[in-house]
């Protein structure tokens, strides 16, 4: 039920402006490919493993192939044409064999023509289709398990993070968290993985402040959660991060291993990781197409803006980013029920009426995106190390979450910014959530903000400011707005940032069967 009485015309204007702002960026995304998109495509086509003899350590085979193709004939036509042509020409059985031969310097890549081109296209299409079929099967399997075991009994779903650095320890923590009530487990990645231009290989045991995202780690954790799902009688979802320089590849690996949710923001990498804007927009489009195919719920990262900017002054930038994320997601084929748009409880608790303002912002998101599974993020910026105060703040965060109908609640830890959570911190945090759900889970029923009260007025004001900002972004261009520090106060020019050299303009004969299948499915 609508409580804010938002003007549908203003809402429609906001969406139209977001679409206009995004349009030029979508065109750029369509006209380019990246090393990461090409690697993701080869992963769908079945390449696995790493070159363990390389002096730089384990280099994934897919990186060896892409780098060599790029050196020898460029990536303007996509990697599959030269790769599948070389496979046939050299009578090799698999892409991994091709990679080994490539590493040994035995392969000369070229862009095929005529009959050879037709043959390469056919072979590539059939290999990629196999990968897509695995993704489809995983999606069906998830649906089957949900039918059998069921979804969580309550909304919001309870989202807990594990981050030990060792996948085996993560399994223990994740299973215990599920037994204690977690509906979603997120395995935080090792610090710095977002800036690796490759995906590490195998099971890993030494991450920093998190565990590396690898295909094998995905498999191990999904299997562990399948076990515990049976035990607790509900399907426990698994989350990881499709952000950084390997967005498309990680998205593919998530689809291949039946992950259920992925962090995937259209601008996070640009703003917070200083990744080149063009690289990010190309990568996020492909990765979201893969997520759409896999039925994966994306989680966007608007909470991050509020950790750098002031949560009151910058409230409208969250709304703007949500609208942009929504548009980019729709454009990539993601329906509303897979859009976990993010926002956060980050207003300074010393600000008068801070809780009322939080309710206004949270309700605005709820009513702007009624069918999206919104992700509600706990306080971090004003968690000071005073754990007692932090526990209280988390209680208010939980209350705001249930009162405004948030869909996914990331459980706040009182030891935020102090230590990685103790076992007891997580237990206390879940008690906090349970208490609020039990005491006030249905309070939304009785909650009617006064029509001309602070909450309603504030929500209208934020939406108005969002429309103003979107107008400026349309005039200025989204890339210029990002360059000027509009979001999260960070200035990111379009020609700078990490990974810029991995962006390639597509040639006329560019061919990528994955893109074709994913576009066609929309």
């Amino acid at each position: 039920m609508a409580l804010l009485d938002l003007d549908p015309k203003v809402v429609a204007t906001a969406r139209a402006l977001a679409a206009r702002a995004a349009e030029p960026v979508v065109s750029i995304a369509k006209a380019h490919t990246t090393v990461a998109v090409e690697r993701a495509t080869l992963r769908l086509a079945g390449i696995t493993g790493a070159d363990s003899t390389h002096r730089a350590g384990d280099v994934p085979w897919v990186n060896r192939v892409i780098d060599t193709v790029r050196e020898q004939c460029g990536l303007e036509h996509g990697v599959v044409l030269p790769a599948f042509h070389a496979l046939r020409e050299n009578n090799l059985g698999t892409l991994t064999e091709l990679a080994e031969a490539t590493a040994a310097g035995q392969i000369q890549f070229k862009i095929p023509a005529g009959k050879e081109l037709t043959a390469a296209k056919k072979a590539a299409t059939s290999a990629v289709a196999k990968g897509i079929r695995t993704v489809d099967r995983n999606r069906a399997q998830r649906d089957k398990l949900i039918t059998k075991l069921g979804d969580p009994a309550q909304r919001p779903w309870i989202y807990l993070i594990v981050a030990t650095g060792d996948i085996d320890e993560d399994v223990v923590q994740a299973q215990n968290a599920a037994r204690a009530g977690a509906d979603i487990i997120a395995v935080i990645r090792s610090t710095g993985q977002s800036l690796l231009d490759y995906v590490p290989e195998g099971a890993t045991h030494h991450g920093f402040a998190g565990t590396y995202a690898t295909q094998e780690n995905f498999r191990i954790m999904r299997a562990a959660l399948d076990d515990v799902s049976k035990e607790v009688g509900r399907y426990v979802r698994l989350t990881n991060y499709a952000s950084g320089l390997c967005m498309p590849e990680i998205a593919v690996l998530a689809g291949l291993q039946r992950l259920d949710m992925m962090l995937n923001d259209s601008m996070y990498g640009i703003l917070f990781r200083d990744i080149n804007p063009i690289r990010t927009f190309v990568d996020q489009r492909f990765s979201r197409q893969v997520h759409a195919r896999a039925g994966i719920i994306i989680n966007t990262g608007e909470d991050n803006y509020l950790t750098t900017a002031d949560a009151v002054e910058a409230a409208h930038t969250v709304t703007v980013s949500q609208l942009l994320n929504e548009h980019f997601a729709h454009e990539a084929g993601l329906p509303d029920h897979l859009l976990g748009l993010g926002h956060a409880f980050e207003i300074n608790p010393k600000v008068p009426d801070s809780f009322r303002l939080e309710l206004a912002h949270a309700l605005l998101a709820r009513e702007l995106f009624p069918d999206a599974p919104l992700k509600w993020m706990p306080p971090t910026k004003h968690m000071t190390g005073d754990v007692f105060n932090g526990y209280l703040l988390d209680g208010f965060f939980n209350l705001a979450g249930v009162l405004t109908g948030q869909s996914i609640l990331l459980v706040g830890m009182m030891t935020e910014a102090v230590v990685t959570p103790f076992l007891s911190d997580r237990d206390l945090a879940l008690q906090n959530v349970r208490y609020v759900l039990n005491a006030a889970g249905s309070l939304a029923e009785d909650f009617r903000p006064a029509p001309d009260g602070l909450i309603v007025k504030r929500a209208h004001q934020v939406l108005g400011e969002a429309v103003d900002l979107l107008e400026r972004i349309v005039d200025d261009g989204l890339l210029n707005a990002i360059a000027d520090g509009t979001f999260g106060l960070m200035k990111r020019p379009a020609d700078q940032g990490k990974g810029a050299d991995g962006v390639v303009e597509k040639a006329d004969g560019y061919f990528n069967p994955a893109s074709e299948m994913l576009e066609a499915a929309r």
């Binding site: 650095g165 402040a209 910014a417």
Partner: protein, 250 residues
């Protein structure tokens, strides 16, 4: 006679009662034996008497405790060593006028998070105009030129930028502390500056919630700022350090 304030005890509700509270988890099942175990640990920690006021199971294998009790220990304030601020806190206007007088140009500050650390919260709180704790960040100061390199800056890149920007001071922030990453990264950074620039190196300042201000020498930096540091303190320190430097040079 010693100063009556030299020795102190924790204060619960009466002077000298020594009361503290603590909480912890033991890897044993919930029950009377677990409570007894918690009691024993508290006694060994110097809490006597200790009261296990609450316990509850976490899963089958763990028990969580809250313990109140009196500690026997005394704090000897004469033995407490901390870094006391040896410079005056200046307002932004005072910082600007002093710098103008001392340098006759803008003071250049280059900052960033080094290593794999992606947490820019600290460096942004100090550098961004937005600031922290009601104080504007260093970007707000007219006589400071601030170059914020953001997250995950490599040490060679930091040295290179410090050189091209002719930095007077380099501020680095470290939040992640797993396996002492913050210490190792900072040492690597200070060593790189020493090697690349010797005595001509800029002022090196490290900040982060888990740093101890007494660690400056060990880290090879000029100053360490810990949790709760405000931009004004950093700016005041920079002015102080510049004055010292000029004093020596003159």
């Amino acid at each position: 006679m010693s100063d009556p304030k030299r020795y102190v005890r924790p204060y619960g509700d009466t002077t000298g009662d020594g009361m503290i509270q603590t909480s912890f988890t033991l890897p044993i099942p919930f029950g009377p034996k677990a409570d007894g175990a918690a009691q024993q640990l508290a006694n060994k920690m110097g809490m006597d008497p200790a009261m296990v006021v609450h316990s509850h199971p976490i899963g089958d294998d763990f028990t969580f405790f809250v313990v109140y009790g009196s500690v026997k220990h005394l704090v000897d304030l004469d033995e407490v060593k901390v870094v006391e601020r040896e410079y005056p806190l200046l307002t932004p206007a005072e910082v600007n006028t002093t710098l103008k007088k001392v340098l006759r140009r803008k003071l250049v500050v280059v900052g960033g998070c080094i290593g794999t650390d992606a947490h820019t919260v600290g460096i942004d709180a100090i550098l961004n105009i937005k600031g922290f704790a009601g104080e504007k960040g260093l970007e707000y100061y007219r006589e400071l030129k601030v170059v914020n390199l953001g997250a995950q800056v490599s040490v060679p890149e930091l040295v290179r930028r410090a050189r091209t920007e002719k930095a007077d001071a380099v501020l680095i922030s470290q939040v992640v502390t797993q396996r002492d990453a913050h210490i190792l990264n900072t040492q690597e950074m200070s060593a790189a500056f020493r090697e690349a620039m010797g005595d001509k190196r800029p002022l090196l300042v490290a900040g982060g919630p888990r740093f101890d201000p007494l660690m400056a020498a060990e880290l090879g930096v000029d100053r360490v700022f810990s949790r709760g540091t405000t931009p004004g303190e950093v700016a005041s320190y920079l002015v102080h350090a510049m004055q010292e430097k000029k004093g020596v040079a003159a």
